[in-house]
């Protein structure tokens, strides 16, 4: 068979392109083609017309320059004697690094030159970043398939390749790979080329506008240049030339766009709207779950952008009226993802985590918004044993990793985690953020904390000259990976509690500023202190009942709701609704032990006291009926009666006959009666066990207690403090 000539040409500085050319040669041979592989310094420009198919692999060096072995050929190609290449097919695979401004410039130059000389492009040029393996392999496969299908890939017209050449090239590969990897510069990605982020807000009340402004400010930390635009008057078609777009849009009325967004929306769904291929976008929708068409505007924008060909880089966030916290968390994921889109429109998904680390490291010190800075008290290094819970969702496997390290005592636990991630295990996953970011909370030796606010040398006791930390995700939440938990279970519970204010119509007070609503300062302070918990996630996790009581709303929701219940502005109907919720099976009665909440230092006393108030209110409102109410009532009653607890009375009154019967068959009663078989104690505890069994047998308590000394004093206290008992 007389095959047409085929040339695989490489321009290489470190050897990557040469390596790819060698791989292409092997693939071509496996397809029955007979290619010739040549470096660009091994051919003359006048040789090129002798080939019917030319595949070019070329890297870029420095500031968009040709690699050393390609310089001469490039100069000759741009000389006066450049040949015509009509009838020649070509394809270019360009290697480069997006962290450089002139990304893949050499490949682009060759691509343009071959076209200019009349050659026919077999397929579009492929521009590869430092991770070039997959895109280059795809390019090679596609190009060779086209050549093989055309039957034009043939033998070389140049001198035969020297034996052993391929082997030498392959041997060079590890060195060049390392060199290429070194050039993967994160800061380059975040600082080169177009870094604009278009922020469009559709706002009726100003919330979306404020949030967009905040995102724009935050974007600087990710190397992005936020441009905030009012949707009103914005040129929709200008988006087609952008790479990153983020929309913050509220919903009005019955799922309608806010006033300033309506015109842009109408244009976007018209035939005049440009395609948005190559645009990466994210949507933050603001709404109110009390409306039927919750976040409808955001959903509309989300669907329309997708329809126009844009790529969703992060799932849409639908926010309820309290949008601050979820929006802040969403931003921590949205901005790094958008920042990983380079100026050519390539999304570097593998760099998102590194960008998060980069951005979080950018925050320095403890600067407050008022400009006040806390001095950092430095301390000597301490020996630390850090054990971190690990969970891999792909294999559903759990375990722990332990690192023994020497770290500065003043280092925050968050910084410890960051250090472990950057220096030990890049897969370690935790929620990063500012020191007071409530979403970063973790459990350290059972203590629920914000790791950015905890110094290493004060979070656990020093024992035998070392600190031992056991870092785990917050209990009571689903774990996503390692220390990162899914807060949405709590958000859903909060949403189900309908936390918004429904105010009563009130008489305004006459003030120098006019008639307005006022509040007693003491009440205002009390209301504030009830909700003054640093992290609702921590408060939720502080209950030991939460992981075991499926529907329980949890202390965070209860505390917030009780605060609303205690607000004098709340309407009577809302108060009634809250009372119903609090006294339901998932309300405060589902909390089995407030002691676990009280002991968390991250939970202010005022908050745990408000939970006790809520419980007291519910039990009183129920008239101490139901098992819970009866338990509390009869416990208190028996103490009044004798000064001591009478287990039998509580057991009988709280459980009732059916539950007692149940315990008889479930083995509880048997274990009580047969308690002597385990303790080794007496079968009968006094005469009672013989005359009124099973009371007084084994661990069965007596039916009657003798009174404590001066029992009348106890009765007098009860009569003075609470006449109900």
């Amino acid at each position: 068979m007389s095959a047409s000539p085929m040339l695989i040409l490489f321009g290489s500085e470190s050897g990557n392109s040469e390596d790819l050319a060698t791989i292409a040669e092997k693939k071509a041979k496996s397809l029955g083609l007979t290619p010739s592989v040549k470096g660009m310094d091994e051919v003359e420009v006048g040789d090129l017309p002798g080939f019917q198919n030319i595949l070019i692999f070329c890297s870029t060096w420095g500031e968009g320059e040709m690699p050393d072995n390609a310089i001469d050929l490039w100069e000759a190609a741009n000389g006066d004697s450049a040949p015509s290449l009509s009838g020649c097919n070509f394809a270019v695979c360009a290697l480069g690094d997006t962290s450089y401004e002139f990304f893949c410039q050499s490949g682009k130059d060759w691509d343009g030159w071959f076209e200019k000389q009349g050659a026919t492009r077999l397929l579009d040029r492929v521009d590869c970043d430092v991770e070039y393996d997959d895109p280059a392999a795809e390019f090679t496969t596609n190009a060779l398939a086209l050549i093989a299908a055309s039957g034009t890939g043939g033998a070389t017209s140049l001198e035969e390749e020297q034996p052993g050449e391929a082997a030498e090239k392959t041997a060079d590969a590890p060195e060049e790979t390392a060199a290429e990897a070194d050039s993967g510069d994160l800061e380059g990605l975040l600082s080169s080329g177009d870094r604009s982020l278009i922020l469009l807000f559709g706002s009726q009340s100003g919330n979306s506008e404020g949030l967009a402004a905040k995102i724009s400010k935050d974007a600087k930390s990710y190397g992005l240049e936020g441009e905030v635009h009012d949707m009103d008057g914005f040129d929709f078609n200008s988006l087609s030339g952008k790479k990153r777009v983020l929309i913050v849009c509220s919903t009005w009325g019955e799922g309608e766009m806010p006033d300033n967004a309506e015109d842009l929306w109408q244009f976007s769904i018209s035939d005049s709207a440009s395609r948005l291929d190559g645009v990466y976008f994210g949507i933050c929708a603001l709404g109110d779950t009390s409306y039927e068409f919750f976040c409808q505007s955001g959903k509309d924008w989300d669907g329309q952008f997708e329809k126009l060909g844009a790529t969703r880089i992060i799932e849409r966030l639908d926010c309820d009226v309290d949008y601050d916290s979820p929006a802040a968390e969403w931003i921590l994921d949205a901005l790094p993802a958008l920042a990983a889109v380079d100026s050519t429109g390539h999304f570097h998904e593998d760099m998102v985590d590194a960008i998060k680390m980069y951005a979080s490291g950018a925050s320095t010190g403890a600067e407050g918004e008022d400009g006040f800075s806390m001095p950092e008290v430095k301390s000597e290094p301490v020996q630390a044993s850090v054990t971190v819970f690990r969970y891999d969702p792909e294999t559903s496997s759990t375990g722990t990793d332990t690192w023994l390290c020497s770290l500065p005592g003043h280092m925050s636990v968050m910084d410890v985690l960051r250090t472990l991630k950057t220096s030990q295990d890049g897969t370690l996953t935790f929620r990063d953020g500012s020191p007071d970011d409530s979403n970063t909370a973790v459990s350290i030796n059972g203590r629920l904390v914000l790791p950015g606010l905890c110094r290493l040398d004060s979070v656990a006791p020093m024992r035998d000259g070392a600190i031992s930390l056991r870092i785990e995700p917050l209990p009571g939440f689903e774990v996503i990976r390692d220390l990162a938990v899914d807060p949405w279970s709590l958000e859903r519970k909060r949403e189900s509690s309908k936390p918004w204010m429904v105010a009563a119509t009130r008489e305004g007070a006459h003030t120098p500023q006019g008639v307005m609503g006022t509040m007693d300062p003491a009440i205002a302070t009390r209301l504030h202190s009830m909700r003054d918990f640093c992290s609702q996630n921590i408060l939720h996790s502080s209950s030991d009942a939460v992981p075991h009581a499926n529907g329980y709303l949890g202390p965070a929701v209860i505390a917030s709701t009780w605060s609303r219940r205690s607000d004098p502005r709340t309407s009577p109907s809302k108060v009634e609704e809250i009372d119903t919720m609090l006294s339901s099976s998932n309300g405060i009665k589902a909390e089995t032990d407030l002691a676990s909440i009280n002991r968390q230092s991250s939970v202010p006393k005022a908050v745990s006291e408000s939970l006790l108030d809520a419980k007291n209110s519910v039990l009183t409102g129920d008239g101490f009926n139901g098992k819970h109410g009866k338990h509390v009532w009869w416990y208190t009653w028996t103490v009044k009666s004798s000064g001591m607890v009478n287990d039998t009375v509580i057991y009988r009154q709280a459980l009732g006959p059916f539950a007692l019967l149940g315990n008889l068959f479930s083995g509880v009663t048997a274990r009580m009666v047969l308690g002597f078989t385990r303790t080794g104690g007496n079968v009968f505890n006094g005469m009672l066990g013989m005359v009124a069994p099973p009371a007084g047998i084994g661990k069965m308590p007596k039916q009657l207690n003798s009174s404590v000394d001066n029992h009348h004093e106890v009765v007098a206290i009860f009569n003075e403090m609470d006449g109900r008992f």
């Binding site: 059972g446 329980y552 089995t592 009866k630 001591m644 607890v645 274990r671 104690g681 007098a716 206290i717």
Partner: protein, 286 residues
């Protein structure tokens, strides 16, 4: 010289946990602790009376403090719930002069007593480690309790200011004591968590899961026995373990004894009970 304490036995040592009161006396004698009964003392409220009327529980405990003050002694108790509740109320009365004044008014009007807050409330465990010393304890050991033992604290006693010099969340006292008695302490995560006793009768399904989870944790770490510093939790973990196991499918069979029982056995009291315990661990597993 013997340590002298006003003794509060806790809420159920007189009823469904008589083994605690039975073993506390000989243990105290062996350790050199003189226990003086607080005649007239009432239940600490266990955090339950508080749910009906917060100030009622505070006032009842103020009376308990007044009784101890009149005896000129600190209070000792073997029950973590009692230690926790008494400490919590004492702390409130100390830091809130208005509350103290108001409470004393009621107390004086109804009982003729008043309190100053100048006393301490201690759990037996903290007295042993902080006052007696583990070296002294280990010298008194007659029977080594040589099992893998999971020490259970519960949440009530593990409060800031209520657990001696021990850490609230990562305590060591019980483990150190177990080691001093010849045992092998197990480190497990659930040792300071609540088993939900205040909700036992009303939220039984949740509490059974809490109990099963706690016991399951101890067993998975290799414990042959659980020793509880809390009388209420001890009773729940012991009596309800079978029901909790059936409700959750978690293996919950394990001997659960109280701290005072372990101490009494180690000090050479009730050798027959220790022999029975060894049989339970070695043969029955329950």
């Amino acid at each position: 010289m013997a340590l002298k304490y006003a003794y509060h036995p806790g809420n159920i040592a007189h009823s469904s946990a008589t083994e605690v009161s039975q073993t506390m006396d000989p243990t105290a004698r062996s350790l050199g602790i003189d226990l003086y009964p607080m005649n007239g003392a009432t239940s600490c409220g266990a955090g339950i009376i508080r749910q009906a009327n917060d100030l009622l529980q505070v006032t009842l405990n103020a009376r308990n403090f007044a009784i101890a003050e009149s005896m000129g002694m600190d209070i000792i108790t073997p029950c973590a719930a009692t230690a926790g509740n008494l400490n919590e109320d004492l702390s409130r009365l100390r830091r809130d002069p208005l509350l103290l004044e108001k409470t004393n008014e009621v107390l004086e009007r109804t009982t003729g007593l008043t309190m100053t807050g100048d006393l301490g409330v201690h759990h037996l465990l903290h007295v042993i480690v902080d006052e007696i010393g583990l070296d002294n304890v280990s010298q008194k050991v007659r029977n080594r309790i040589d099992f893998p033992i999971a020490g259970f604290y519960g949440p009530n006693m593990q409060q800031e200011g209520a657990c001696g010099d021990d850490d609230v969340f990562d305590p060591q006292y019980l483990e150190m004591l177990i080691r001093a008695l010849g045992g092998e302490p197990i480190l497990w995560e659930s040792r300071t968590q609540s088993v939900g006793v205040p909700g036992l009768f009303s939220e039984e399904a949740t509490v059974l899961r809490q109990i099963a989870s706690t016991i399951g944790d101890a067993k998975s770490e290799g414990a042959a026995m659980i020793v509880s510093a809390c009388t209420l939790s001890h009773t729940a973990l012991d009596v309800y373990q079978g029901k909790a196991g059936r409700a959750t499918g978690i293996s919950t069979n394990i001997p659960v004894i109280h701290l005072t029982e372990m101490l009494a056995f180690a000090m050479g009291h009730y050798n027959n009970r220790l022999a029975q315990l060894r049989t339970r661990i070695a043969v029955i597993g329950d």
